[in-house]
């Protein structure tokens, strides 16, 4: 067989006892004729590794296939330079989950050997994609997070370009009266801690600061981003308007596509907007600007205060003494707190949590930061006026971690009156304000008279108003957002990631956070940016397939310009050539192969992963005839979560039907419908797809993979009709990584469903 292959069957872990190893070897040698075929126990032992190495040398093996433990273990041990290494999982996927010495178990193992050996015949020998890249870092925003990111990257030896839209560095953090210490005993406030950081940034030779400037455009890809930095001016509003128009057109088009209508004709303005951002077109840079080439970007653009106009019911706009927490910081900076309306000393303040009436998420813009700011500002009053009374009404009070200490300190202050309660309204009578509250801790509706009311308005990421990064990508200038207005990423599992490779978010642009949080967040994002610059310089993928040297290759001559790959790539890796064919940007690519699944012409492939490879593996499965009562099911599983689930089920010795054959994919979004057709026409009785949860709380490593798979599978009914097959033969399941206990029921339940149908009539064709 080609390439020259050695098969090494591991008889340890109970494999030798559960299977007929000689028969297994027979299948391999009869059908594939590998150059070497050996069966011994524990090939991961050092002396066994030596045997493999000597075989490689003496026989000139080009591929080594280990049939034994899961490929998720011993990855470092089974690593042979210049040799394709493939693993067959006989342990977790066969003997640990099936009855030993059983006919079906043996058939399962034999099929996996066939699939593994078929797979290696489809490998292509390709060097990694490398291009000339740079490793400097662009940091957008010089607030608490941006300054830290810039310093961290510079101290790690990387050149940094720091862009700040204001003339002064420091951002909001520098405008506040006081800040939390972040140090024990956590009950004091200090002056803004940013000054030393600003000085350090200014004096750092590796950091070039662009103050009063914004990013006009970013084009290119990680390792070769070209950023145009332009002095701040009214152009930004014009640009925002253009981009908003563009976005509106996109959304309208998407909606129409979903509803099946035809797109309305674009207005001239929309055309102009879209045209202005056409990718590949040369930008007319007829204004003062600076162009820098960077390897990666840290987006630390921060936040802006929520518009308080919507809190009219709380008296904002009606009474001059109802102010926001941001205005309160300004008042507090001037020393003793004076009332805005008449300049009198303030003796009492009601701090109100902002509740957005008639909203699905009335507290969307509340965060632990707004809670802490309220407590902090109560301290301003108490410190400047010993007789001051601070009322704090809240429905949510969050003071995570050590901030509980600060909360306790404020609670202990006799002049701070804390109570839960729903604020009914604020009224004024000229002399002062009255706040009415129900459901208070006092058990009644209560009214307090105060000199001033401070609204705890929220923090809105600046990406809500502007794309900020202004990407010249075919998928648009924006970072995709989640339903809450923050840029979309898997923040719980993968902080710092955005949906645009090489751009890492840090600080309040990502979620509201305190100084200390923003600083540590910035460190993380800076390290991710550095990691990205380094990986792409070696032609390797970034997270989550960090180090993967394969990359998508397109056989463009067969492209029909359907644009599915460019549309469906969750990371905007594809731009578009003037002829409408996709223009790949390999360093933007995360190697999820969702594009491979999307392509109806099957022209996208990786050196170690292709439509042909998976299709051939499926076809290599031995399908018994319809009278044998041995159905066959192909289970496509996502490598990231579903594969570990199957492994864990094996580790826990959970037993399930032996008629299933797992085919791992890089992501469930990798599924190409041709594989389903291949399987069905081969006589496979049913197909399962197991992927991550999708929806608002998606768990997909590639954001949209399992959702796209679901979409594609829903379209497969047509194929089934053509083949006169029941649509229940294909089902998609969602599984999170801890749900291995559900796997047997899932599989056995599917087998029960199949048992209601006749065998696939295409068996034997």
């Amino acid at each position: 067989m080609e390439p020259k292959t050695g098969l090494y069957i591991d008889t340890g872990y109970g494999i030798g006892e559960a299977l007929d190893i000689e028969a297994l070897k027979g299948v391999a040698t009869d059908e594939f004729k590998p150059a070497v075929c050996k069966a011994e126990s524990y090939w991961s032992d050092p002396d066994k590794i030596e045997i493999i190495k000597s075989d490689i040398a003496s026989e000139g093996l080009k591929a080594v296939v280990i049939a034994g433990s899961s490929p998720r273990v011993y990855q470092d041990v089974f690593k042979f330079d210049g040799v394709i290494t493939e693993r067959i999982n006989l342990r977790e996927h066969v003997v640990w989950c099936q009855p030993p010495s059983h006919e079906d178990t043996q058939m399962l193992a034999e099929d996996y050997v066939r699939m593994g050996l078929t797979k290696v015949t489809k490998y292509q020998d390709k060097p990694p994609f490398t291009e000339e890249t740079v490793k400097s870092i662009l940091v957008i925003g010089a607030g608490a997070a941006g300054l830290s990111a810039a310093l961290d990257a510079a101290n790690a030896g990387y050149e940094v370009f720091l862009v700040e839209k204001e003339a002064e560095l420091g951002g909001w953090a520098n405008k506040f009266s006081k800040a939390f210490t972040g140090e024990p005993p956590y009950d004091q406030l200090v002056d803004s801690p940013l000054k030393s950081k600003i000085d350090a940034v200014k004096s750092n030779a590796k950091i070039k600061v662009f103050a009063s400037s914004r990013v006009y455009a970013i084009s290119g890809a990680p390792g070769m981003f070209d950023a145009v930095i332009r002095p701040d001016g009214p152009w930004i509003d014009e640009l925002n308007h253009k981009q908003d128009t563009w976005l509106k057109v996109q959304l309208a088009r998407q909606k129409q596509a979903q509803e099946g209508g035809t797109a309305e004709a674009q207005t001239e303005e929309e055309k102009a907007a879209a045209g202005g951002w056409a990718v590949g077109e040369e930008l007319a840079l007829d204004f003062p600007h600076e162009k820098v080439r960077v390897g990666a970007v840290v987006l630390a653009a921060g936040w802006r205060p929520e518009d308080p106009a919507k809190y009219e019911s709380l008296g904002y706009g009606k009474y001059p003494d109802v102010i926001t927490n941001v205005q309160m910081e300004e008042l507090a900076r001037n020393g003793k707190i004076k009332r805005p309306s008449d300049g009198k000393d303030v003796n009492s303040i009601a701090f109100l949590e902002c509740r957005e009436e008639n909203s699905e998420n009335p507290f969307l813009n509340n965060s632990y930061v707004t809670c802490l700011v309220t407590l902090k500002q109560a301290k301003y009053l108490r410190e400047s006026n010993p007789n001051g009374r601070a009322y704090i009404f809240y429905e949510n009070m969050r003071t995570p971690g050590q901030y509980e200490k600060f909360y306790q300190t404020m609670q202990d202050d006799p002049g701070v009156f804390l109570s839960t309660g729903r604020v009914l309204g604020v009224s004024g009578d000229g002399a002062g304000l009255a706040v009415e509250v129900k459901d208070s801790l006092l058990g009644e509706r209560l009214k307090v008279k105060v000199d001033m009311v401070v609204l705890a308005t929220g923090m809105i990421p600046v990406t809500e108003d502007s794309a900020v990064v202004n990407l010249r990508y075919r998928q648009g200038p924006f970072l995709p957002k989640n339903p809450y207005g923050f840029n979309d990423s898997h923040f719980i599992c993968f902080p710092y990631e955005t949906q645009r490779t090489g751009i890492y978010a840090a600080g309040c642009v990502k979620s509201p956070m305190d100084f200390q949080g923003a600083e540590s967040d910035a460190t993380g994002a800076a390290l991710k940016a550095i990691q990205c610059a380094e990986l792409v310089s070696r032609g390797e993928a970034v997270h989550p397939r960090a180090g993967d040297q394969s990359y998508p290759e397109l056989f463009v001559t067969r492209c029909t310009q359907c644009k599915r790959c460019t549309d469906e790539c969750p990371f905007g890796a594809y731009d578009e050539k003037p002829d409408g064919t996709p223009l790949p940007n390999p360093t933007r690519c995360r190697r999820c192969a969702i594009c491979m699944g999307s392509c109806p012409e099957r022209i996208i492939s990786f050196r170690d992963h292709s439509v042909d490879m998976i299709g051939s593996m499926i076809k290599s499965v031995n399908v018994p005839d319809e009278y044998s009562e041995k159905p066959r099911v192909i289970v496509f599983i996502c490598e990231n979560d579903a594969y570990p689930v199957v492994d864990m089920a094996g580790i826990n010795r959970l037993q399930y039907s032996g008629f299933v054959r797992f085919v791992p994919l890089r992501c469930l979004g990798n599924i190409n419908l041709v594989w389903i057709a291949d399987a069905l026409s081969k006589g496979i009785d049913g197909i399962m797809l197991i992927g991550c949860k999708y929806g608002d709380d998606y768990q997909c490593h590639f954001v949209k993979g399992s959702e796209l798979a679901n979409y594609r599978v829903s379209k497969v009914a047509e194929t089934l009709q053509r083949l006169v097959l029941e649509s229940e033969r294909i089902q998609l399941f969602q599984l999170s990584i801890d749900e291995y206990g559900k796997l047997p029921d899932m599989i056995n339940g599917f087998m029960d469903t199949l048992s209601q149908f006749d065998p696939n009539p295409y068996k034997g064709f």
């Binding site: 202990d412 109570s419 006092l442 009214k447």
Partner: protein, 402 residues
């Protein structure tokens, strides 16, 4: 809406409460462990949780008009179980102190007794009176006559006059304050008077039925020793009062010799007196030892507590030492301690309505008031983990489905 209140926290009151011993009142986060833990708190609107938030919010009027603060017998179950270390028992105690001071008449006496800065004056005044009395009686001659004859050491007549005046002052002041308190409770608890009310005398009798056998006190199981100590002190004091009254009657009306000159144990009055005195002193000693030795269980003791405790303990202790000195044949010892004893007794009488001693009046009145409006305080508190189904809920649900 009927229940809307305009809240104007009295910051100074909260600060005063904190100063009066409620150091940790701000720590309360209203979890209500205290109200559940309390064995004698009524089911309906239980204390001390509500008092805690009122105290935090400086709601002076509510706290001073709240009879529940006197229903608490300070067993400290709430304080030891409080997850936040807010010491609710200490808060109630401080409120009681504030109330005694607020209602004290004449008012300067309240601060004289309540402020530690006034200690010298408060203690010095009765001491000076007795010293002057001694000086003008016999010029500090502690050696004669022998055998001991207290009537010749200090004349009975001036003692009778001064102590009767002090007693009248105390009783008048106490009655005046208590009358005010009753009227205040009536006026400021409008909701309480809605049902049928009992008269003062039947309520008082009902209250005394509870107080005399210490039946509620006994319910504070966690602190049973305190019940014993208070029971001994209480009945010891009553025994001593009875003894004093009989002796005074014997001397003044029947012109008999005082028992000190009739030999020990010869007449029943001496047995009553001595047994009462021992019970009194033992009870107080238990209290003192607990407060000093186990403050965690006994609660934090403030100046207000110590002032009263030491004076009442001093009264009993010096009385006993005087008698023992006489038995031991030390006339000068007996005379000296007799003089000190008189100082303590005068202080006890004078400060009755203003010191913690006044609790005997206020607590009785508050309990009686509670009886009169039907606040049932003897219902045992059974933790009820299943909230009662609210009647309006099914209706609301019906409406929703319609």
């Amino acid at each position: 809406m009927a229940n809307e209140i305009i809240v104007e926290p009295d910051l100074q009151f909260t600060k005063d409460l904190i100063k009066a011993g409620a150091n940790d009142l701000k720590k309360c986060y209203q979890c209500a462990t205290c109200s559940v833990a309390c064995r004698i708190s009524p089911d309906n609107s239980p204390y001390p949780r509500k008092e805690m938030i009122w105290a935090q919010w400086g709601l002076k009027d509510r706290l001073l008009n709240d009879p529940d603060v006197w229903l608490c017998h300070q067993c400290n179950d709430c304080s030891t179980l409080c997850p936040r270390g807010a010491y609710p028992a200490d808060v109630l105690k401080a409120i009681r102190k504030m109330l005694i001071q607020k209602l004290s008449w004449p008012s300067f006496m309240g601060s004289l007794v309540g402020e530690s800065s006034m200690a010298v004056l408060a203690l010095g005044f009765p001491a000076l009176v007795v010293l002057l009395l001694t000086y003008f009686s016999n010029g500090f001659n502690f050696s004669s006559p022998k055998p001991v004859h207290y009537g010749q050491f200090i004349g009975y007549i001036p003692i009778q006059i001064i102590y009767t005046l002090a007693l009248i002052f105390a009783v008048v002041s106490m009655v005046f304050s208590l009358k005010n308190y009753w009227a205040m409770l009536d006026a400021n608890n409008p909701g309480a008077g809605q049902g049928p009310r009992k008269g003062f005398v039947p309520s008082l009798i009902e209250a005394l039925k509870e107080i005399l056998p210490h039946s509620t006190f006994k319910d504070c199981e966690a602190n049973y020793i305190r019940y014993i100590a208070h029971f001994l002190t209480f009945w010891g004091m009553i025994g001593l009062l009875v003894t004093t009254a009989i002796v005074a009657f014997n001397i003044d009306i029947l012109h008999l010799a005082p028992p000190s000159r009739s030999g020990p144990g010869t007449i029943p009055i001496k047995i009553l007196g001595n047994v009462s005195a021992i019970a009194f002193v033992v009870g107080l000693a238990i209290m003192l030892v607990r407060r000093i030795g186990n403050p965690e269980q006994a609660g934090n003791s403030s100046y207000f507590d110590w002032f009263f405790l030491w004076i009442i303990f001093g009264t009993g202790a010096t009385g006993l030492i005087t008698e023992l000195s006489r038995w031991a044949g030390s006339a000068s010892g007996a005379y000296f301690f007799y003089m000190v004893h008189l100082m303590f007794v005068l202080a006890l009488l004078l400060y009755l309505p203003f010191s913690k001693f006044a609790h005997l009046g206020y607590r009785t009145i508050a309990i009686a008031w509670g009886k009169s409006v039907g606040r049932n305080m003897t219902v045992p508190v059974v933790p009820n983990f299943v909230p009662p189904v609210r009647a309006e809920e099914p209706e609301a649900a019906k409406e929703a489905t319609v």
